[in-house]
């Protein structure tokens, strides 16, 4: 059974791109969220195997969303998606409970590598 992934990003563009990369590798998209709040809500209802989380989003940023999700499920597997120049935020996200990160622009191979790493660990 393919792993089910929840994609959180405020840009349809990014969600589409991540979804394409994941789907072409056989993952199933459990759902999408376009804000931190929505990410937390969807996490509760969809119970995905993995979450990809953008950092900068309206209505609760990615880091607060990570904290909220980890509070619900300590074993949540969250992969941060950050742009260049956000190293400090990435560190904060990992401290908050995110398992790994990838940097935009996405290289499909890197994204898949990170997804496998997080799912495996």
């Amino acid at each position: 059974m393919a792993h089910r992934i929840l994609i959180c990003d405020d840009a349809i563009f990014m969600r589409t791109m991540i979804a394409d990369i994941l789907v072409s590798a056989g993952y199933e998209i459990a759902g999408e969220a376009e804000s931190g709040l929505q990410a937390v809500e969807r996490y509760k209802t969809l119970k995905p195997d993995l979450v990809t989380m953008d950092i900068v989003m309206p209505d609760m940023g990615g880091i607060d969303a990570v904290k909220a999700i980890v509070a619900i499920d300590a074993n949540a597997k969250i992969l941060m998606c950050s742009a260049m120049g956000q190293q400090s935020l990435v560190v904060e996200a990992i401290q908050a409970g995110a398992k790994d990160f990838v940097v935009k622009p996405f290289q499909p191979a890197r994204v898949l590598e990170a997804v496998q790493r997080v799912l495996g660990g």
């Binding site: 393919a2 563009f13 990014m14 791109m17 056989g26 309206p58 260049m84 935009k104």
Partner: protein
């Protein structure tokens, strides 16, 4: 990245970058009005950040660099290193303009839709607006109100068909038909959105299960309503999973029976009037109808000794909880069963049929409506509740006089011109407990699945053109209630799928 995929990303970039820049300009206006406004800086920062990410992903390096530089300038102000003076805000506005120009240039250079946003410039290529589906839903329900107003007008105009009112009513009716068609057209989306997800998923499944599968997809340019398309993905993937897991044999097993080692799965869509016919075909082992029948008899859900027809087979398979999987596999053991597939399809007005030949393969055929319909329907009442049923199935209305009711094979039947029609009481179907039973009740005679049935109701209240909206069904709701509409008097009514009542 394929060309088609890149073109899609460029189109998404175009629409998102433009709407983000519009939002950023609006926020900047507020900021200029009130330099202490912190929310504006945040919103602009998010917009720039998103545009930068998209531009970098498309390798629009110059645009990404420009946005990055602007974001850095903004960052200094957000941190308080620099004040947002009027002069600075003015410069920042120019910077946003430069970003707009850079984005448009990048879109054109990437072969995207024509250069935009400069007044007086001619557009080339399709112009695209992103619209929230909720807004289109609202438009559709407004249209529903208008259709009702039209019916009222037509009723009044009937008194004198040559009056100016009647002529105006006719004109309005024609325009309304056009408007309706256009609104429904706006909601259409290509099947490709769902179909393009199929091959990688099927290939991955085949790998997991040690099958060799070639997949063939046709007709993905056909369009259906967005709400229908959204409901299609899960059931379709489920049928495909079943095809790979239970249909296609292992390469060795295929060779042993003289088949090519590579199994074929086909997903074909073709237009059929207002509908789209989807066929999901596999050349695998087929469904063993004798095994299914034996199991169904053992479970007490099938009494008939005769062999199962294709329709009978589907009727057994779609029963909630019925499963032929002896040992749960990781693939089809999870997720929805065929019962859920059928229920989801019925909710959007689709119907499913099945053809299977043992050893040769299986074809699932889905007849999918392309547009959320406006259905000509009969309104009936049980107590204070209202139910509507599409007129397509209704044959006639008869009064259910006591002397016409009899028994046959242990069932209540209604004799209509010598023919004994099984009676179905809507009160009983609904488990309605009101004691307001009228002394005389009408029966709606309808035909579905080749069978005529007399449906007893409390009252028949007229006809409407119902704008049907799909419903989010609570657990336990009868599966033959498939949609909802609002009547002239503002009351809600549920739509009955007569074919599933039989």
């Amino acid at each position: 990245m394929t060309d088609a995929r890149r073109a899609r990303y460029v189109a998404l970039f175009a629409s998102e970058a433009r709407s983000l820049l519009t939002g950023a300009r609006r926020a900047l206006g507020q900021w200029q009005d009130d330099p202490a406004e912190q929310g504006a800086a945040e919103e602009i920062f998010r917009a720039l950040h998103t545009i930068k990410g998209m531009a970098a992903s498309l390798e629009f390096a110059a645009t990404a660099d420009l946005v990055h530089a602007t974001e850095t300038t903004l960052g200094a102000v957000r941190r308080g290193d620099h004040a947002a003076t009027a002069a600075w805000l003015g410069d920042f506005e120019l910077a946003l303009d430069s970003i707009s120009i850079a984005c448009e240039a990048a879109i054109v250079a990437a072969g995207g839709e024509g250069a935009a946003a400069t007044p007086g410039t001619a557009w080339t290529g399709p112009r695209i607006v992103r619209v929230d589906l909720d807004r289109l839903d609202a438009l559709l329900s407004d249209l529903g109100g208008l259709v009702m107003a039209r019916q009222e007008l037509e009723r009044r105009a009937e008194a004198d068909t040559f009056s100016p009112i009647a002529r105006a009513a006719l004109q309005m009716a024609r325009r309304l038909d056009t408007l309706q068609a256009r609104i429904l057209d706006v909601r259409l989306a290509p099947l490709a959105e769902v179909f393009e997800r199929i091959p990688p998923i099927v290939r991955d499944l085949a790998r997991q299960l040690g099958r060799d599968v070639a997949i063939d997809i046709n007709g993905d340019n056909l369009e259906v309503d967005r709400a229908i398309l959204d409901q299609l993905a899960d059931p379709l993937l489920h049928l495909l999973r079943n095809a790979v897991d239970h249909g296609i044999e292992s390469p060795d097993a295929r060779r042993a029976v003289g088949k090519r080692p590579t199994g074929r799965i086909g997903v074909t869509a073709r237009a059929d009037g207002d509908a789209v016919i989807l066929e999901i075909t596999d050349d695998g082992r087929g469904i063993d109808r004798d095994a299914i029948a034996a199991r169904a008899r053992a479970m007490g859900i099938l009494e008939d000794r005769a062999a199962l027809s294709d329709d009978g087979l589907l009727a057994v398979l779609e029963r909630p909880g019925f499963s032929t999987v002896e040992q749960v596999t990781t693939v089809s053991g999870r997720g929805v069963g065929l019962d859920v597939v059928v229920a989801r399809m019925r909710e959007v007005g689709a119907s499913l049929s099945l053809t299977t030949v043992l050893g040769r393969g299986t074809v699932f055929k889905i007849r999918l409506p392309t547009r959320l319909g406006i259905v000509r329907a009969l309104v009936t009442g049980i107590g204070e509740e209202r139910y509507v049923m599409p007129l397509t199935h209704v044959i006639e209305l008869v009064a259910c006089e006591p002397e016409l009711v009899g028994q046959r094979d242990g069932r209540s039947v209604l004799f209509v011109r010598g023919e004994a029609l099984p009676i179905v009481d809507l009160r009983r179907l609904l488990l309605y407990r009101g004691d307001d039973l009228p002394s005389r009740r009408p029966a709606v005679v309808f035909e579905a699945n080749g069978q005529r049935v007399a449906l007893l109701t409390d009252a028949v209240l007229g006809q409407v053109d119902a704008v049907v909206q799909p419903i989010d069904r609570p657990a336990g709701m009868a599966r033959w209630l498939t949609g909802a509409t609002v009547l002239d008097d503002g009351r809600p009514a549920l739509l009955m799928d007569l074919a599933s009542v039989v």
